[in-house]
Subunit: 302 residues, 2 copies
């Protein structure tokens, strides 16, 4: 089984990047694209996010052997329902959602007769919309497949090979475990960033202007994450509740311990934590998951 015709439903950062990556790295694959927003379709045509941008989902998916749903996880079931009657019988349906258990259930409900291989490319930026995508978004990043039990190994192989062709490294994981892992490596970091930016902007004794002027002390990094797409992230938290609440509980326990260490002047506890976190950073860089340049290479000299 080989992917030769890909339909992309939803042409924002992820969908657009898939289309551009196919053109750059797998030009033998033909792409069609659809977005429910006519302005997005128009922008997608101008940028060439897919070979053909269709005005209805039925046309977009009609010939596809792989359909990738690139919509917020809360919109997956609707998007899947709209294409259900128009898919080829042997089409594989996949997605790029950040939570996998709820998406697997939604797609199974909407498409009981099709092969469903959910996927999550762990890649993105704070930008969203049809102007945000770029061809190398997935280069060197991991794409996690969470095939349901009994999924065709040929279908898993086909989806995995597609992601490798556009630059990603592929891992297969149980959906429940995926949701736990991503809660800590992605969902909680986003929740924390959104929250501290909200806290800072609500203060009365520190002005918003001061918060912005002195943001280079660390805060500015959180503002980047907190500029991510609100609908996408609302849906992630609503659709990965148990894992997010579990990981959030552990984080707040640890934060309370640090609070106690500060209050009691326990410098050793602080120094111990601050020392052992460095090893994680080194590993992230050694494994090619972040830029080795100080401060991500930002600044006038960059």
């Amino acid at each position: 089984m080989k992917v030769e015709r890909v339909a992309i439903v939803g042409l924002g950062l992820l969908g657009g990047s898939i289309g551009l990556a196919v053109r750059a790295f797998a030009p033998h694959v033909v792409t069609t694209g659809y977005d429910r927003n006519p302005e997005v379709r128009e922008a997608a045509r101008e940028r060439g996010l897919a070979d053909t941008i269709c005005d209805d989902p039925a046309t977009a998916v009609a010939d596809a052997d792989l359909v990738i749903l690139c919509v917020p996880v809360g919109a997956m079931e609707d998007a899947a329902s709209q294409i259900a009657d128009h898919l080829r019988a042997d089409a594989i349906v996949s997605d790029v959602g950040s939570s996998k258990q709820s998406v697997a259930e939604a797609l199974a409900r909407a498409l009981p007769d099709h092969a469903i291989i959910p996927a999550h490319p762990v890649a993105g930026t704070e930008r969203s919309g049809p102007q945000a995508g770029f061809a190398h978004l997935f280069a060197g990043r991991w794409c996690i497949l969470t095939p349901p039990s009994g999924a065709s190994s040929d279908a898993v192989e086909a989806v995995g090979s597609f992601w490798e062709a556009i630059g990603a490294k592929v891992e297969i994981m149980d959906a429940q475990h995926h949701d736990l892992v991503l809660a800590v490596t992605s969902h909680i970091p986003h929740l924390i960033a959104y929250t501290i930016v909200g806290t800072a902007s609500d203060l009365e004794d520190v002005t918003r202007s001061e918060v912005i002027k002195y943001s280079a002390g660390g805060f500015r990094d959180f503002t980047r994450i907190a500029a991510s797409d609100p609908v996408m992230w609302r849906d992630v938290f609503l659709n990965n509740r148990p894992a997010v609440l579990e990981m959030l509980g552990r984080f707040t326990e640890d934060l309370t311990a640090m609070q106690r260490a500060i209050r009691s002047g326990d410098g050793d506890a602080l120094h111990d934590l601050f020392t052992r976190t460095r090893a994680i950073r080194r590993a992230v860089i050694e494994q090619g998951q972040d830029d080795d340049r100080p401060d991500f290479g930002r600044g006038p000299g960059a």
Copy 2:
């Protein structure tokens, strides 16, 4: 009053960057440097972090009209005591510490007869040590002066002009207010980053290898901050306790509200916060305090 001879005590990221910035942008100023660690002094000589690297603090400060203490805030009083008997009577003493009330008190105790103008350049990277500094670290960043009441306006002007000469923008602020502002724009973000990286590395049901592989989902940004100098940050938290605990309390209240919204499925509350945080990001970029490129310009295309 014009600064012509600067002594830098402590030759890590900040001290080294001051020396290099003087050479690049204010070459008429003569610099001397001292660090209590002989290996750091040797590295400083090799990199030319100051015109003269001295083997004792007395020699380094003997001719200086401005002495800048660039040591962790917990080491300020010791460093000041060592130079007290060797300063010129008209020398101004300043520093680069991240908390200002405790430093002001420590310097006043150690140097009762000298003009003390505490300063905090809001700039840095996750690197530390004599190899970490670079000349443009302060370009476009704010340097906050917190002169004590009754400070000589000539001394304030001299220190401010020095920082402007090496690229910074200068603001004058009350020390207590500084500590509150920086608690939210710098200290709490660091504490949160250290904590979540610690939480992630302690999990039993998610492996450290998984945390690292899938860190591009947001977590990797926190690992950069959590790689900052442990001694420096231990001292910040021990020396800015009331403001840090106050801001931490507000953050955890807001985080608890988000937790409740997730648990109860209140998508509107989540969407509302996630939308209004974007305005802060835009302002940070408009005011030149961060890189406008998506994802800080990281990635294969950067």
